[in-house]
């Protein structure tokens, strides 16, 4: 009976809430907002005297973007107008790491996909459990496409009830995901200098920490020219950003350093002396540029024996070798072919660079970190290897054959077209051989980068260029014959090795399951190609049908493969274990002294402490003698559980050093700068 009454009351409450809520929903102005915003509290039942995070979970319509705190050259920051119960206060709005969007020379700092801003509410102490706290906020913000801008206003509300502060696991997971996108405090101070219209920023950043496509987002105007490109160099434990200044500088400036993968670090820079890009750094750039150029040349050369280029090339080469062509024609054709190849390569490279400049932050190396890209390359190289081995023949589509044939009739126009075609067709094959060189090209200044793409083209054109200019070579060109077949089959061995290497990479990225899936997909492709080869041998119509079906099936596998969660295997001090709350509780229960430290790859203070104090032999011995258990929390990826633990100790970020003495109720917080003596003194006191 009691249960029935309870459910009736619940029903009544729900009904009343619905009736009350519907007019409010109907009041939403226009109902055609371009960003859908939901106001969500981390807990609906916060405890009195606590803080509760509110998320503005926002989803822009496709093609639309919202703005960061500093919107860039144009745009508006979000403003909030709170209506809060007596005693409740709201903190400032925290923004996730933004993206760049350059439109017609104007830089915008934006969010093009779903994002969540945060605000923290302070709940006063002394409220009775069950007290209702209605929270209302009017958010004014700007939302734009590339073409038009619309200022919008959203009236948002939620109701909190004083309770025990419990957080539902599903909601905690959502908040953890959003929090991961917030910039983490760098901890150490950066330095900047404005000189001769240039802005130089030096950020302490460990040499071994990864920074992909680093970019400094200044929090306010009057510091840097937003639209100017930023040159990034690294010299030891310093990351140097050089760009054009706007304004004279003077006061400290705040901003966010984005380090790739949506991660960012909030930092403050004070005025000081920042040396211009160090000469030795420039030399390293030069060396890597030369190395990349050499790699590109070699890569282009190797492309000549790729099955997608080989047929076209051999047609051209043999047309020259047949003789009856005078010196001038041969040279002219060689030049035209070379021009075609190089221009196409440079054009393709320019498109790639333009895409990046337009704000697409993914570089070549970044793509190779995606197991799906690796799997596609694995399937491609497997198919190429089987083709070289003679399992099936690659019959080029009609258009290509015709173009190549027109080229073989001579004429520089035809040679140019053949070159362009060869370069165009060769590009999908660049992956495994060119990864390094292309990766270097993407981080170099663009004139050098285009040089590398030109180098790729030159490498590809080189054999034909030599044939054109050295008549002796043309005479030495072997007659087509059975040897070509043997040569081709031999080439399948390195190709299979490439496939093997890719399978290994796939295994590293997606685990044994992912690798098995990939090899299974390769098997399906192989069977399909074998069948196709049999049909080709019989001269069947549409011989390619089974292989196409197999390819579709294999691509299904691509959809399935997933990145394995990165295994937490950081470099640990002797006998150290990864930190978890459970592990800490267990060890404290055992009554052991514990040294817990929290670090991140990008935290220079942490690295200095680790090298100079924590990871030294003296400290290891002292800890071993005192039976100290060391726990390490790696906050590089902004693990939210660690973040909450760090926050509980009144720190916004790393480093954090804790010493748990058996018998004491809480930990002792050690200073942020450690010395060996400080640590060796800890046990046995």
């Amino acid at each position: 009976m009691g249960g029935m009454r309870f459910s009736f009351v619940t029903f009544l409450c729900a009904f009343v809430t619905l009736v009350l809520a519907s007019p409010a929903a109907a009041q939403v102005p226009g109902n055609t907002r371009h960003i859908a915003i939901e106001l969500i509290a981390e807990t609906d039942t916060p405890a009195a005297g606590s803080e509760v995070a509110l998320a503005f979970a926002s989803v822009p319509e496709p093609g639309w973007h919202g703005y960061w705190k500093n919107p860039g050259d144009a745009g508006i920051e979000t403003t909030l107008d709170w209506t809060l119960p007596q005693g409740v206060t709201a903190g400032p709005l925290d923004y996730p790491v933004p993206q760049r969007l350059l439109i017609a020379g104007l830089m915008n700092y934006v969010y093009e996909g779903p994002f969540a801003q945060f605000a923290t509410l302070k709940i006063p102490a002394g409220l009775a459990p069950g007290t209702r706290l209605p929270v209302r906020v009017k958010s004014d913000y700007l939302v734009c496409t590339d073409e038009i801008c619309v200022p919008e206003s959203a009236q948002l509300e939620t109701v909190l009830t004083i309770g025990d502060g419990a957080i539902a696991p599903a909601r905690r997971a959502r908040f953890d995901r959003w929090r991961a996108a917030l910039p983490k405090p760098l901890g150490s101070e950066a330095t900047y200098q404005v000189a001769e219209g240039g802005f130089r920023l030096a950020v302490p950043f460990p040499a071994e920490a990864a920074a992909i496509d680093a970019y400094f987002f200044p929090a306010s105007a009057g510091t840097v020219n937003f639209a100017a490109p930023q040159a990034v160099t690294r010299s030891g434990d310093l990351l140097l950003i050089e760009t054009a200044a706007s304004g004279a500088g003077g006061p400290p400036i705040d901003g966010v350093l984005s380090v790739g993968g949506g991660r960012g670090l909030s930092l403050r820079a004070v005025p000081g002396i920042v040396a211009a890009g160090p000469e030795h750094a420039a030399e390293i750039d030069w060396a890597s540029a030369l190395l990349a150029l050499g790699g590109a040349l070699l890569g282009g050369l190797i492309l000549n024996i790729m099955p997608c280029v080989f047929p076209i090339l051999s047609l051209k080469a043999l047309s020259l070798a047949r003789g009856g062509i005078d010196e001038d024609t041969a040279r002219g054709e060689a030049r035209a072919y070379t021009a075609g190849v190089i221009l196409t390569c440079v054009a393709l490279g320019a498109v790639l660079l333009a895409l990046r400049a337009a704000g697409a932050s993914a570089g070549w190396a970044f793509q190779l970190q995606d197991p799906r890209a690796i799997l596609i390359l694995l399937l491609l190289t497997t198919a190429i290897a089987f083709n070289l081995a003679g399992l099936f023949e690659l019959s080029a589509p009609g258009a290509i054959n015709r173009a190549a044939a027109s080229g073989s009739r001579g004429g520089t126009g035809g040679a140019f077209a053949t070159g362009a075609l060869a370069a165009f067709i060769a590009t999908p094959c660049t992956g495994p051989f060119m990864g390094v060189a292309l990766g270097a090209a993407l981080v170099l200044p663009w004139p050098l980068a285009l040089g590398i793409f030109a180098g790729l083209g030159l490498g590809l054109a080189l054999p034909f260029l030599l044939l054109g200019y050295v008549p002796a070579l043309r005479r030495r060109l072997p007659r087509p014959g059975a040897w070509m077949d043997r040569f081709r089959k031999a080439l399948s061995v390195p190709m299979f090795l490439t496939a093997l290497a890719l399978a290994w990479v796939l295994g590293r990225q997606a685990g044994v399951d992912g690798m098995t899936l990939g090899l299974g997909a390769a098997l399906i492709v192989a069977v399909g190609l074998w069948w196709m080869g049999r049909r080709q041998a019989r001269g069947a119509q549409r011989a390619w049908v089974p292989s196409a079906a197999a390819a579709l099936l294999a691509l299904g596998a691509v959809m399935l493969v997933e990145r394995e969660p990165a295994a937490a295997a950081p470099m640990l001090a002797a006998n150290a274990q990864p930190f978890t709350q459970a592990k800490l509780d267990q060890l404290r229960g055992e009554g052991r002294p514990i040294f817990a430290y929290f670090t991140a790859d990008w935290c220079i203070t942490c690295k200095v402490n680790e090298k100079s104090a924590i990871e030294t032999a003296d400290v290891a011995k002292a800890f071993a003698d005192g039976e100290v258990q060391v726990l390490v929390g790696d906050w590089t990826d902004g693990d939210p559980a660690l973040g909450r633990f760090i926050e509980q100790h009144n720190r916004a970020g790393v480093p954090l050093y804790l010493w748990y003495e058996p018998g004491e109720p809480g930990p002792r917080i050690l200073p942020q700068l450690l010395t060996k003596a400080m640590l060796t003194d800890l046990p046995g006191r």
Binding site: I103, G105, L106
Partner: protein
């Protein structure tokens, strides 16, 4: 190597528009544009007079805020009453929001009772980029000696809400007033607000 980097940087500077910029306190760059009647207008035509430049895009909600509420017209009238020249410039590229032909712009100005001295068309964005005009509206004040004395927003309330005009500080009128009183400009540079200028490319 350093030389190469500088050559690269110079090439980049040429390739990236919007890097040109007028410095407050220095001579404003001269320009020539065509007005809605097809007449050529140069900044140097107004030597000796105070000139206000206003970047305009009728489709932008922030421009609509100031024209819809009559604020921009009032500011124009007040400036011209003080003997200043008001040049409204449209740098919207053809096909982009806010681009207008001369006739369209003329009709719009009449309909909105706007009173710029001239309405100038800059469809290729040459003058806009030369002044690093970033938003609509974006305002510049040039004194009788040709010195740029103010650049930035029209006022200090960066919203699209007409209700905010009443309590805002009109930076342009304030600068004109201070100039007339022979005082230095107290706020010489602010961050402009509004929609981005719809340049070509």
């Amino acid at each position: 190597m350093t030389k190469l980097i500088w050559i690269g940087a110079a090439a980049l500077a040429l390739a990236v528009p919007g890097t040109a910029q007028q410095t407050t306190g220095q001579k404003a760059g001269n320009f020539k544009l065509t007005d809605v009647d097809g007449r050529t207008v140069a900044l140097s035509d107004f030597a000796g007079k105070t000139v206000v430049l206003e970047w305009h895009n009728p489709g932008c909600p922030f421009v609509q805020k100031h024209y819809g509420g009559g604020n921009m017209q009032k500011t124009q009238a007040a400036a011209r009453a003080q003997g200043a020249v008001w040049l409204t410039i449209n740098s919207g590229a053809p096909g982009k929001q806010g681009h207008m032909s001369g006739a369209e712009a003329k009709a719009l100005m009449a309909e909105q009772k706007a009173e710029p001295t001239r309405y100038l068309l800059d469809p290729r964005g040459v003058v806009g980029k030369g002044y690093a005009a970033k938003t609509t509206p974006h305002l510049y004040v040039i004194d009788g000696r040709g010195t740029l004395v103010y650049q930035g927003g029209i006022d200090d309330k960066p919203t699209a809400d007409q209700a905010d005009i009443a309590g805002a500080r009109n930076h342009v009128l304030a600068a004109l007033g201070e100039m007339r009183a022979g005082k230095p400009i107290s706020v010489a540079e602010t961050r402009p607000y509004g929609c981005s200028v719809k340049y070509a490319g």
